[in-house]
């Protein structure tokens, strides 16, 4: 067994070289690293839901070439050296008999120590945290949105469970309106049938949800922008809408105030459901 351990050592130097090359590539923007450092949780140890973003941009420590005891143990990003890194971690570190000397700042590894995310931000700041343990940070959410499309929540009056739509999937209000119709038509019918007594079996006619944009229909599409104001969908250029809309609502047209509070802004009657 001892022989095998020693036999592994000649590989040591190959992996150091590889490790150094890999770490020199670095290549991730300082801005992303900063955004990671601001979070309460550890960059490397957050819960699974945020891990995709973090693995794209690991927080890296500076690597001193002479530091052989510990190769930068970064996340599993570089696939080609990933497997080798795994080996080098075991082989190169702590030859038998010597005590470990901990580096001043090893790059954190994803999921180590193996603690679930909501246990991780206990050190000092549990009390006044605006971010609760079980949520992702704003930075992570933004990263996800940039990469994956712009999902905003959309709720419809009379339907308790909301949906999400990807605004980046459409290029016009008309397409968005059609999508909303498709999304909710079936649900609306089901919700309405819920209200009917079990004995009545109405035929399966589906009402198209139309007139969302021009207040001509039974429902109207509205949105909440990044300043918290509620606006009618369709008033601003599409691109501006996409960049400012934070969530959508499909309201009963009869619930809207007759006179808007300001151009484009809407109010609601106080006795809406």
């Amino acid at each position: 067994m001892e022989e095998e351990f020693r036999g592994g050592r000649p590989q040591l130097f190959d992996f150091i070289t590889n490790g150094r090359d890999w770490s020199d590539k670095g290549g991730y923007g300082a801005a992303e690293e900063k955004s990671l450092e601001l979070r309460l949780g550890l960059p490397g140890g957050e819960d699974w839901s945020a891990v995709q973003e973090k693995r794209e941009h690991p927080a890296e420590s500076a690597v001193s070439p002479g530091h052989i005891a510990k190769i930068p143990k970064s996340t599993n990003m570089s696939a080609s050296s990933g497997a080798k890194r795994g080996c080098s971690d075991a082989v190169d570190s702590k030859p038998e008999g010597t005590l470990a000397d901990k580096p001043t700042a090893a790059a954190p590894v994803v999921g180590w120590p193996p603690i679930r995310s909501f246990r991780k931000n206990l050190a000092g700041t549990a009390k006044a945290s605006a971010e609760s343990p079980n949520r992702r940070s704003e930075a992570e959410k933004k990263l996800e949105n940039d990469r994956k499309g712009l999902f905003v929540k959309i709720n419809m009056d009379g339907i308790p469970i909301g949906r999400k739509v990807d605004l980046k999937a459409y290029d016009s209000y008309e397409k968005l309106s059609l999508a909303v119709d498709e999304l909710f038509r079936g649900l609306l019918m089901a919700a309405q049938m819920d209200l009917l007594a079990a004995t009545t079996h109405s035929t399966k006619e589906t009402h198209v949800i139309s007139g969302l944009l021009d207040r001509s229909g039974e429902y109207t599409l509205v949105y909440e922008d990044d300043e918290g104001d509620k606006m009618l969908v369709g008033d601003v250029p599409w691109d501006m809408f996409v960049s400012t809309a934070k969530r959508l609502r499909v309201l009963k047209s009869s619930d809207l105030c007759a006179s808007p509070l300001s151009p484009g802004e809407i109010g609601r009657r106080t006795n809406d459901s």
Binding site: E4, G97, W112, I115
Partner: protein
């Protein structure tokens, strides 16, 4: 025969019975009431429902455990929806569901509530994908609900999206026996909660989240003095430095709760309130202080009363000294979990071999231990192996990777070797620290009862994994990360993989060729190669997850998962 089968409850017994002959198989299938599916992809919903027609209770597990630590990318799978739909069509008698590491949507919750008229209990552990909107529909539609327990689930709602679900429970007297939401990030409507408790005379278990203050807790306790299990929320007062007027009433509330056996919460504990729990300490068997940043001095007066404690979860802030106090009093302790306040490799070590040794000397009935520390010695681990012969679960996490024995500088091989050698009942083991193949040699030689093994940053060569795969006949679940095991080691387990629930290997030395080899030779094994970066098309395998399945490759695999 068929009659006796209704009395068999253990699934392992039932599995054995069903193999005897066709009629026993059928009889067993018709009478099985509790269905346990350890891997949701091992079988299809359709098949499970077709075979077991009368199931009342389902336990379903999804993602591999390493998903809890961020190793499984988002969208990997374990969707509950297909199961919900199939069961809504197939079972009307379903009463209880317990899901672990599944993705559950609000629609699923709605479907459950609407499809099963007799539905009584839902437990969600480490699940994600749902929100308070789903909870609202569920609370409203499930008229006979007895149990709703949310344990360590992930919520993704914005503040403005939160729904007042507590108000949606039936307005009449409810059947609620268990209500747990301590993992919920958003505050619930307190008045509605208080009213709900007041009209739930059967309530025995209540676990509230950190938004509930100590005075609010007192009000709830007064409404429900019959509680047996209490999750105490924040256990502090919002007024900093004040709140003294809450202390005496709080003591009264605890004194009146004569049935309490389990306490948890203490999420932001103000230590001035800790004495309030003294009246119940001698009765409690489970105490969860794992979110309470308390010192040894603050722990001692509490633990001194806890003679009957069997399960104790604590933060390492109590230090070795706190653990010594536990060892002095808690002679009946069966389970200990020591969590780190600061889960990094550079943090100051609050507990060490000293605490472990003290526990082993004081708590001889210990069955299960999870211990996070910064450093350890072989001697302490050996001592525990000799003193705690009842150990079934031994999970030691030395947070600094590859760290040897901090006294001798030796690898931790001998310590873990002693554990597998001396603890004959051991079924679950997690190793850490500097470990050579020798440690795995011990595990393979002595770990004949081991079912679950967790390895990280350990071993020197393929031999390490080979020892385990060739030596541990009962191995069911093996999870390995960042260890130098390659294709030859993987292939050495071919004879055994059908007996296992799963194998996970990440950041090891596997290649596509080796994994394909396994996939070819074992057609009933699903071999998933998971990539972190979609564009990487390398030969090296970042993450391997393989599991036996009756239904072959799943049809919901995302693009970053390649099934060989």
């Amino acid at each position: 025969m068929p009659e006796s089968e209704t009395f068999l409850t253990s699934r392992r017994d039932r599995n054995a019975v069903s193999l005897v002959c066709r009629s026993w198989y059928r009889a067993e299938a018709q009478t099985r009431r509790e269905l346990f599916i350890g891997n949701c992809y091992a079988v299809s919903p359709r098949r499970a429902i077709d075979r077991f027609r009368c199931v009342r209770s389902l336990v379903l597990k999804g993602k591999p455990r390493f998903a809890d630590f961020g190793l499984v990318p988002i969208g990997w799978g374990a969707h509950f929806s297909p199961w919900a739909s199939a069961m809504a069509a197939g079972y009307s008698w379903l009463e209880k569901i317990c899901l672990k590491r599944m993705s559950v949507t609000d629609d699923d919750l709605s479907l459950l509530a609407l499809s099963f008229p007799f539905f009584k209990g839902l437990t969600l552990i480490c699940c994600d994908g749902f929100s308070t909107a789903g909870l609202a529909v569920f609370a409203e539609k499930c008229r006979h609900l007895r149990l709703l327990d949310l344990i360590e689930d992930y919520f993704e709602e914005e503040e403005y999206e939160v729904v007042d679900w507590i108000s949606k429970f039936p307005e009449t007297t409810t059947s609620l026996e268990t209500l747990g939401f301590d993992c919920l990030p958003s505050a619930v409507n307190f008045e509605a909660l208080e009213a709900l408790i007041a009209r739930s005379p059967a309530l025995r278990q209540l676990r509230v989240n950190h938004h509930v203050t100590v005075d609010q807790l007192r009000r709830l306790m007064v409404r429900a003095p019959q509680l047996t299990h209490l999750g105490t929320g924040s256990f502090r007062s919002p007024e900093e430095g004040e709140g003294m007027e809450h202390e005496a009433p709080l003591v009264s509330a605890f004194a009146a709760s004569r049935s309490l056996v389990s306490l948890s919460g203490f999420r932001e504990v103000a230590s001035q309130f800790l004495p309030a729990i003294y009246p119940v300490c001698s009765n409690i068997t489970f105490l969860n202080f794992s979110f309470a940043e308390i010192t040894a001095e603050e722990l001692k007066p509490v633990i001194r009363h806890c003679h009957n404690l069997q399960n104790f979860w604590v933060l390492d802030t109590v230090r070795d000294e706190g653990l010594q106090a536990v060892a002095a009093t808690c002679k009946d302790l069966r389970e200990l979990r020591v969590f780190p306040l600061d889960a990094t490799e550079e943090s100051e070590g609050f507990v060490s071999d000293v605490g472990l040794t003290a526990i082993s000397e004081g708590c001889r009935k210990l069955q299960s231990i999870l211990y996070f520390c910064q450093q350890m010695t072989n001697k302490a681990v050996l001592t525990m192996s000799k003193n705690c012969q009842e150990l079934v679960v031994f999970r030691l996490c030395i947070m600094a990777r590859h760290l040897p024995d901090h006294h001798t500088g030796e690898p931790m091989d001998e310590g873990f070797g002693a554990i597998v050698m001396n603890c004959k009942k051991l079924t679950r083991l997690a190793v850490s620290g500097l470990l050579t193949d020798k440690a795995f040699g011990y595990i393979g030689k002595y770990g004949k009862s081991i079912r679950t093994l967790s390895v990280a940053f350990a071993g020197n060569s393929d031999m390490g994994l080979r020892y385990v795969l060739e030596g541990c006949p009962k191995l069911q679940k093996l999870e390995i990360r960042d260890s130098p095991f390659g294709d030859p080691a993987l292939l050495s387990g071919i004879h055994h993989y059908y007996n296992m629930r799963f194998l996970w290997m990440s950041s090891c030395k596997l290649s596509h060729r080796g994994c394909e080899d396994v996939a070819q030779r074992l057609p009933r094994l699903v071999v998933e190669v998971i990539r972190d970066r979609p564009e990487a098309e390398d030969e090296a395998v970042e993450k391997l997850y393989m599991y036996r399945s009756l239904v072959g490759r799943r049809n919901d695999a995302p693009p970053f998962v390649k099934i060989l």
